[in-house]
């Protein structure tokens, strides 16, 4: 399957209003001394991390260590939670997304997100895929059709669903739904793809497909993936961040983290001694 050949190029609609400024060379998301509190409980402690452009960054760590929290901070999904406070910066292209006057909606349009459990909407497969464009005000049918096909091809789903695009997305299998969510995440051709345990509800074959997909999408998108599966992290990622109790313990290229970790905690986690 030649996925790389069908990588979408940017469709010809206006870029979102959010203004992009180029930041530090090679760093797509620059997290600096980031702290986050749910009410009074601190969930992230001074996390600093530069996520590199066009690469796959895996976040690993035991349950409850704050991986999802950090990931959701990147596109400000945490804004939905009452009584949340943060401190520190996250720079996207040299622009602090927690600064004043940031258009959160425009920010989110630049980042696709795939959740742990597939969450297709109660609409047709076609409408699901083009949803990001539709909320962006794109109505031209040719653009929508083209985007739908490209996104579904990129998500390795096109051949399975091309004859049933008008059917409800809720009638698909779990693995198909998750790939549909990936297609939706990349439909508006974002810069960053955030994935929170995208394979945890899937069987090994569907997981393999998605891993293959991640490999194919790499280079074009900056991908951040949260995973509990060490082999998966080792297989798909270029860089790995290990978190523990809300702190970033170690960050480096995947091979180093998995073969010669500097910290004892990392060592014991990846060898399965806790977590």
């Amino acid at each position: 399957m030649n996925v790389a050949a069908s990588i979408p190029t940017r469709p010809e609609f206006e870029p979102p209003a959010y203004h992009v400024r180029e930041g530090r060379e090679g760093v797509a998301l620059d997290i600096r001394n980031f702290n986050l509190w749910y009410g009074k409980a601190q969930a992230l402690h001074g996390v600093s991390l530069g996520i590199q452009k066009g690469m796959v960054t895996a976040m690993i760590g035991p349950s409850g260590c704050g991986k999802s929290t950090l990931l959701r901070s990147l596109n400000r999904m945490n804004d939905l939670i009452d009584d949340l406070s943060i401190d520190g910066d996250i720079n996207v292209g040299g622009f602090n997304i927690y600064g004043s006057g940031v258009d959160v909606i425009a920010l989110r349009k630049r980042m696709g997100m795939v959740f742990q459990k597939p969450n297709p909407f109660a609409m047709s497969i076609y409408d699901n895929v083009i949803y990001p464009l539709r909320v962006d005000g794109v109505t031209k049918k040719s653009i929508l059709d083209e985007t739908c096909e490209r996104a579904l091809r990129s998500a390795a789903l096109w051949d399975e669903v091309k004859d049933r695009l008008k059917e409800s997305a809720l009638g698909m299998s779990g693995g198909q739904q998750q790939r549909l969510c990936i297609a939706r995440g990349i439909a508006s051709d974002p810069e960053v793809l955030l994935m929170d345990e995208p394979c945890s509800a899937l069987d090994p074959i569907a997981t393999a497909k998605i891993e293959e997909l991640i490999g194919a999408l790499k280079g074009h998108y900056t991908i951040v993936i949260v995973t509990h599966n060490m082999q998966q992290a080792a297989r798909v990622s270029d860089n790995t961040a290990f978190m523990y109790l809300g702190r970033l313990i170690e960050y480096g290229d995947t091979e180093t983290i998995f073969t010669r970790p500097k910290k004892a905690q990392t060592q014991s986690y990846i060898t399965g001694q806790f977590g």
Partner: protein, 584 residues
Amino acid sequence: MTDISDPGIRNRTTPDGDNAELTQGKKVRRYTADLSATGEPALWAFGGALAIGILLISSFLFMVFWNGITTFWPKPVAVVTLEDGTVLAGEPTRNERFRPGTAILNAMSEEQRAEVEANGGYATRTLYKTANFDLYGDDFRWIPDYTVTQTSYPPDFYTFERQEWGVFIGRVTGLVIDDQPMAYDPQVMRREQREARQRFNEIRRLERGPIGRINHRLEQERLAIRRAQLRHGADSAEYEAAVAEGNARIQELQARFGEIQSQVAAIRALDQRNRVQLEEIGGRSIEPPLSQIVRYYAANDLSLLDKAGIYFSRWGEFLSSEPREANTQGGVLPAIFGTVAMTMLMVVFVAPFGVITALYLREYAKQGRLVSIVRISVNNLAGVPSIVYGVFGLGFFAYTMGVTIDQLFYPERLPTPTFGTGGILWASLTLALLTVPVVIVASEEALAAVPRSMREGSLACGASKWQTIRYVVLPKALPGIMTGLILAMARGAGEVAPLMLVGVVKLAPALPVDGFWPFIHLERSFMHLGFHIFDVGFQSRNSEAGKPMVFVTTLLLLGLIVAMNSTAIIIRNRLKRKYASSHF
């Protein structure tokens, strides 16, 4: 039974243990919980009570159904001779046991009294529908069965359904065609009656169509003059011009009115020349015009096919025509129309209000004490007696809003109220108010049931909050919201008490929809099947005559509600299937 003192044995419950006991030949007392501890008696009591309740309701529904379905089946006419020599003719309607008083007992013969005593002091009597209200002053008579010496079903007895005075039961003695008396000939009668009915309908059509239009325009002219007077004053030149102009047109209209009127009078005169001579069993006769005869048949001389024909023709009349004879005869079309229109209007009002309120409470309002209070109040609103809503509807909608509307927009019609009295608009608004809590509660639940992950998925795509609600949350919640609307509809369609205050009438002069601009007249009063039942069954001059109508109308109302609800349920299930979820 021997008591087993060792608790260890008692607790053995395995089959092996039991077998071991049996093989040893010992008697084993099995462990049984105290009755009150298992809760079984309570279960049985409540279950039984519920079963009895359901049984009673379903047998009532069956009775309504059976009576409603059989009402229009033509019944034979019995001619009974009583022991005192009286002869009467009527349809045996029903039969019951009664306990004769001493005066009646004393008047009985020896063997009759013995029979009553053998029956434990009871005798039976039959209710005959003797009809002929114009001659007898009543429609029904109870005849004790023991006084009947002879019953026969002569084939020459006819049942006549008349336009006025209800049914006539008797013989046909002759015809008067074009003022020429002649012998009764069934074929001539049939032909002439059909023609007479056509003439009757033609008069109707003229009254409805041209005369109605002229009346409407006359009214418009008068209103125009009045408007000019209100706007410019009674001694202004404009007013005088309007009067002159209006009067000219009024005169023209009145001339046309006179023309049609004389046309109608000519038909009426023709009608009076074609009559049928009828004679009741006692020998008194009447001679009504043929056009007054809606339907007639030889009650004891009908084939099954004839009966079925009459049966369906009656259903047809019932469903497609207007009531006559103080609603006890004829059809209920205006009431069907009123019920459906009112319910639809109510849904149109209640749906946006209910859904928007639920959206606000669930999606936008900050969940706190205030919202809790609002929510509790909404829930409690559902418990307010419906008549209270009626009073509110009358006081607020009709007497406050309606009167204001009249003063602002219809001053020329005052003091006749337009919106300032009950009408279908106010009635449906009142019912919308009555049912809005149901819709709010159901919609809130449906919105809350939309998974958080879906909303997050949408927001992560860069959708705004409203886009998320509009495209993701509402479609997903729609079946649940529809369920609320269905419940509201079921409640609203069957509600009568508040409607009696805000616009339902016994006989509406016109439907809320007609051919005069603006075609839909929401200020008009209307008829309603529920109120029709109440009126026919319990408010009319003789409730016995209305009784069959009560059953048929109840059946129809139930059918209508079932039909409206099933339509809504089908739509909802379609939606559900469209978004059917599969699992993995």
